[in-house]
């Protein structure tokens, strides 16, 4: 078991890149390395979507810090990557379109060879456009892509944990636009009514969706108020692209589990974060950079642990 107390020691950049899937559960050991990993993840995202000229960089870039913090600092994960869902924290990506960031962090954490990022969205790849268990990619628990289904699955997994007397947690990430899907509110009502308190749902509050800002598409009003009215314990991470703030916020959330309420984190992120021309706009929700744009984007994220 790798957890926050007994984590694997420092992994040199060279080793890190070299070991790939052979290395069990790679953990970076200090914030500086984690910051480098965040930039590397951004590079991975950009290069994945650029190569196949498709995929979703915007939301992915905004969530780089979240994924790094979650997989490197928060989650207790089985060292052997066993996928039975027992005796470890597990994560569901509800907004499956941000697969590039998910794949990058899974690979960089040792779930599969980093090289395999090269196959993103290609025919016969395990790295499908949206994450799936269908092709057997380690680290993925369920298919997502059609929005709105992740919280329900997470509740189910959380209940399984309770039945199994497994005290680990279930984490989920949802888009803010995604919250317009009614199934979420069924799940949100259920989780509060049934005290699912081993569940931490994070909302990627980037204020953007495909057709524009959430305010323009469908004004969602006070999201915090909504979760609270539905009986959740809500906390906000104001700086969702500040790694330190994200780690602190996630730890805070974790400490509030087990108290009879499901936990919601409102994670304020910037869509397209880290690439100036992609930031603060929905334009890059699902559009890949061309060669020139990629060059500029990578140059804005020069720190690297080594590209695949």
């Amino acid at each position: 078991m790798v957890n926050n107390c007994s984590r694997i020691g420092f992994v040199s950049l060279v080793e890190y890149v070299t070991f790939g899937a052979e290395k069990p559960n790679i953990r970076m050991s200090d914030l500086q390395n984690l910051e480098a990993l965040v930039t590397q993840v951004r590079r991975d995202i950009l290069r994945q979507v650029h190569k196949v000229n498709s995929g979703h960089p915007g939301g992915s870039l905004g969530c780089a810090e979240f994924f790094v913090a979650l997989y490197q600092e928060l989650m207790d994960r089985n060292e052997d990557f066993s996928m039975d869902g027992k005796n470890e924290d597990i994560f569901f990506l509800s907004n499956g379109h941000i697969s590039p960031v998910f794949y990058s962090v899974l690979a960089r954490s040792g779930y599969f060879p980093v090289d395999e990022l090269n196959t993103f969205r290609l025919l016969n790849s395990r790295l499908q456009g949206h994450p799936t268990t269908h092709e057997g990619l380690p680290g993925v628990r369920i298919a997502s892509g059609s929005l709105g289904q992740g919280i329900s699955a997470a509740i189910g997994a959380a209940l399984s944990k309770k039945l199994n007397n497994d005290s680990h947690l279930v984490y989920t990430l949802c888009g803010d636009g995604e919250l317009q899907e009614g199934q979420n509110w069924e799940a949100i009502m259920y989780a509060a009514g049934n005290k699912i308190d081993n569940l931490v749902v994070t909302i990627d509050l980037n204020g953007q969706q495909i057709d524009g800002s959430t305010d323009n598409v469908l004004p969602m009003g006070n999201i915090k108020g909504k979760f609270q009215a539905f009986g959740w314990d809500v906390l906000e991470i104001e700086k969702g692209n500040d790694l330190d703030a994200v780690i602190t916020g996630l730890k805070n959330a974790k400490s509030r589990t087990g108290n009879g309420k499901p936990i919601c984190i409102l994670l304020n992120t910037v869509m397209g974060n880290g690439v100036d021309f992609m930031m603060h706009t929905h334009a890059w929700h699902g559009k890949a950079p061309n060669d020139e744009q990629l060059k500029v984007a990578l140059s804005q994220n020069p720190i690297t642990l080594g590209d695949y």
Binding site: D84, T133, H134, A157, Y190
Partner: protein, 317 residues
């Protein structure tokens, strides 16, 4: 002709309830979820025996399916229960992504299928659920004919690893199959042997097919009656073997003739050995309020309709 006896009419959903009760005792991984229809689904006993393994999700079928999918992670075997319409059409995309494509070990158990739901009327009488579920890759689709078979199927699907749709109904119907049968998924059951016509029936129509076969027998015609409890995977071999003798076929189902068992059979025949076929099924209409018997008659879903179809298809050879 073999004789079949109705040992006492019972509803198929009670067969499901009995099976689930038994599973509760024998398989501690079995959990049950229900969307505010516990009594109708006959899940009360499981609920009482195993409150910690029973999950009342309220009127939120989409969430129920997603939860069930999630519960498989960690090793549970979830049985979801609601009416057939709310088990399929209401949650098609959720089943598609979270259960079928994700290949989760969820058993979607659906009562009140078809027009025999009765008085509640068309909004509740789904006649498309077999078609909905059969189109999903990896899904097993079962429609049982009586109490005993439904109970056996409930036990069998717990042993099988993969997504299953189990369809049963509301009204009391003849209980005529063996009490402690083993249910073999995908293996058609021959109820009568005959050379003149094949009758392939599922669900509530199986008993009607047996009555029809008797009537035909009185007219000197030998019908081969096949209980095709599993619509997917379909027992193509049983069907093809039978029509190689009879050279004509009637399919009988409590379902729209578009998209269901009938069309699956047509496809298998067209691919292998084109054969005259008649359809005992609803003919692309919604149902309506009425008693089950009235509706079976009005929509041409009984022994009489099967006899008529058989005579017609024999004449078409």
């Amino acid at each position: 002709m073999k004789k079949y006896t109705n040992t006492g009419s019972k509803d198929t959903r009670s067969g499901f309830g009995a099976g689930l009760t038994q599973l509760g005792k024998t398989n501690s991984n079995v959990v049950a979820l229900c969307a505010d229809l516990t009594g109708s689904l006959k899940m009360d006993e499981f609920k009482e025996n195993h409150p910690e393994r029973f999950f009342q999700v309220g009127i939120a079928e989409a969430n129920m399916i997603g939860m069930a999918a999630g519960m498989t992670i960690g090793g549970k075997i979830p049985f979801t229960g609601t009416f057939a319409n709310f088990s399929t059409g209401r949650v098609y995309d959720q089943i598609r992504q979270s259960v079928a494509y994700s290949y989760k070990n969820v058993k979607i158990c659906a009562s009140h299928a078809g027009v025999t739901l009765g008085e509640d009327g068309a909004t509740h009488q789904i006649l498309e659920d077999i078609g909905l579920m059969k189109m999903l890759p990896g899904m097993t689709v079962i429609n049982t004919c009586d109490y005993n078979q439904t109970k056996a199927a409930t036990l069998a699907i717990a042993e099988y690893n993969g997504p299953v749709y189990l369809r049963f109904g509301r009204p009391k119907v003849a209980n005529f199959t063996q009490e402690d049968q083993t249910f073999e998924i995908g293996k058609a059951v021959h109820l009568q042997e005959g050379n003149d016509v094949t009758i392939v029936a599922s669900g509530h129509l199986v008993w009607e097919a047996l009555i029809a076969a008797e009537t035909l027998n009185e007219q000197g015609l030998k019908a081969e009656v096949i209980n095709i409890h599993t619509i997917k995977p379909l027992d193509n071999k049983a069907i093809l073997n039978s029509v190689s003798k009879t050279r004509c076929i009637v399919t009988a189902e409590e379902h729209n003739f578009l998209g269901g068992l009938g069309e699956s059979v047509s496809r298998v025949l067209a691919e292998n050995t084109p054969t005259p076929q008649e359809f005992v099924a609803t003919k692309d209409t919604f149902g309506e309020s009425g008693t089950p018997a009235q509706l079976m008659e009005k929509y041409g879903l009984n022994a009489e309709a099967i006899v008529k179809a058989a005579l017609k298809v024999i004449a078409r050879k």
